[in-house]
């Protein structure tokens, strides 16, 4: 299976690639998008800073070099939905994309991948779509978790769910740290999803949007309440 990590930075791409590259039967590519259409100076300064911050800059650099030599590191200079970017992606003939960039996917980009693009959404679908879903699930007394599903051009409306994993949120005193922990589960869950997809006769769960709601950015007041609930939960434990 030809798989591409669609990343916003080289270090972000290789964080996920490291988890997946050992999976038998997977040929891996890393596509680095120019998120926000940044100037080359700004873009590469950020890359450098991000690599240095990870304290694994040497590993990242050697990995990037080896991927580049094999033609498996693709750096896009134009936005992802630009026709030249889509052509470059299409030429890779990938089966699957793994979302790891802060971009919105339009239909031509999604269809450049034979099976589509997977997203590790930090909320339980179909109930929690949209933004701040971790906060909303805590506020409404529901468990936290991550859903890996095939995206479409809507907001978390893609109909095929590959897997859902409930993740204990106990012990996290702020919503920020809880969210970081959930975001950090993406590489592991992408690997798990790939393993499932490579099994014959996989059955997808349907993301029935009528069973859920779209959520929006949360007010400061409700954010504070969510943090209080998390502290209360920790104190109760």
């Amino acid at each position: 299976m030809r798989v591409a990590v669609i990343a916003g930075s080289i270090s972000g791409g290789f964080r996920i690639a490291s988890e997946i590259e050992t999976l038998a039967g997977v040929e891996l590519f890393v596509i680095v998008c120019n998120v926000g259409n940044r100037s080359p100076l700004l873009r590469w300064s950020r890359e450098l800073l991000s690599a240095l911050r990870s304290f694994k800059w040497w590993t990242a650099a050697t990995k990037a070099y080896s991927y580049a030599q094999l033609g498996r590191l693709i750096i896009l200079h134009r936005p992802l939905d630009d026709s030249t970017s889509i052509e470059r992606v299409r030429a890779l003939q990938c089966d699957l994309g793994l979302h790891a960039a802060n971009v919105i996917y339009r239909e031509p980009t999604i269809s450049a991948f034979r099976l589509g693009i997977l997203n590790a959404h930090i909320g339980i679908l179909p109930k929690y779509r949209g933004r701040c879903v971790v906060e909303w699930s805590v506020l409404q007394g529901d468990p936290a978790g991550v859903t890996v599903f095939f995206i479409d051009s809507g907001i978390d409306t893609g109909s095929r769910i590959v897997l859902r994993e409930f993740i204990p949120s106990n012990g996290w005193k702020t919503v920020g740290t809880l969210k970081n922990m959930l975001f950090g589960c993406d590489a592991r869950l992408y690997r798990k999803a790939l393993e499932a997809l490579m099994q014959p006769g996989i059955q997808f769960e349907i993301n029935d949007i009528l069973k859920g709601r779209r959520y929006y950015v949360m007010s400061k007041m409700f954010n504070q309440i969510v943090n209080e609930i998390l502290i209360d939960r920790t104190n109760l434990a």
Binding site: I124, K127, W136, L139, Q140, G141, D142, P143, A144, G145, R164, F166, I167, P168, S169, N170, R213, R214, Y215, Y216, V217, M218, S219, K220, M221, F222, Q224, I225, E228, I229, D232, R233, L236, A237
Partner: protein, 229 residues
């Protein structure tokens, strides 16, 4: 695995409700002092005879009315104009309505969005002449669309300090507030929280429509002391 068998330990809901209720009442107390920074004295005076009532409502004790009964009806007709009914609801007063056996044809968000801003305003005011109708189950799609527009396009415009259609933004906030009061959907309440928290300089322009501004603030005040979320 379903939600009930999930691993996360759930905080007893009554504790969550306690935390939520305390925060809402705290915001209500804050609003009692802060509302004058939204409604200038000229803006208040332009309300005419309504000014005193609005002032008493916002500065006075917690007042709310349980409007959930409205959700069980098919459709309600009001004889008085939209703004008068809206004002009565916002001030937790009595609304004169007649039950109707039939409801108007379904309004699709896509059709609503085809209209110009002015036409949309008129269409919404006409459809929700009895504003309680926005709380009906049949109006789910329209309410969701109004919530989406408020929390995506309108919010980003106000946050960026860009020009916005004061009448339309306020109308949506009022309808979203009424939906919240009837459906007890926290997302709708939080839309009002969010707009209240925006920088005051972004909200200053809202004085251009004193009646809709006053009713939005009164609805918000009522929502903050509404129990059973």
């Amino acid at each position: 695995m379903d939600l009930e068998t999930a691993l996360s330990r759930r905080v007893p809901l009554d504790r969550c409700e306690g935390i939520l209720r305390a925060a809402l009442l705290e915001r209500r107390a804050e609003l009692r002092k802060s509302w004058r920074s939204f409604v200038s004295s000229e803006c208040l005076q332009s309300l005419g005879s309504l000014a005193k009532e609005v002032e008493m409502f916002l500065s006075g004790p917690n007042t709310s009315r349980d409007w959930r009964f409205a959700a069980s009806f098919t459709w309600m007709d009001c004889e008085v104009p939209f703004l008068d009914s809206l004002c009565a609801i916002a001030l937790a007063g009595k609304v004169e309505y007649q039950l109707s056996d039939t409801s108007p044809p379904r309004l699709l968000p896509v059709d609503l969005n085809k209209l110009s801003s002015n036409e949309r305003l008129k269409a919404l005011c006409a459809r929700y002449r009895c504003p309680l109708n926005i709380g009906l189950a049949s109006e789910f799609d329209v309410a969701e669309e109004l919530l989406r527009q408020s929390m995506v396009q309108d919010r980003s415009k106000l946050e960026a300090g860009a020009e916005f259609d004061v009448d339309m933004v306020l109308l949506k906030l009022n309808l979203v507030g009424i939906r919240a009061i009837i459906s007890r959907d926290l997302r709708y309440l939080d839309a009002l929280n969010y707009f209240y928290e925006l920088p005051r300089r972004s909200l200053k322009r809202m004085c251009a429509n004193p009646r809709l501004l006053a009713s939005w603030l009164c609805l918000y005040a009522q929502l903050l002391c509404t129990p059973d979320w």
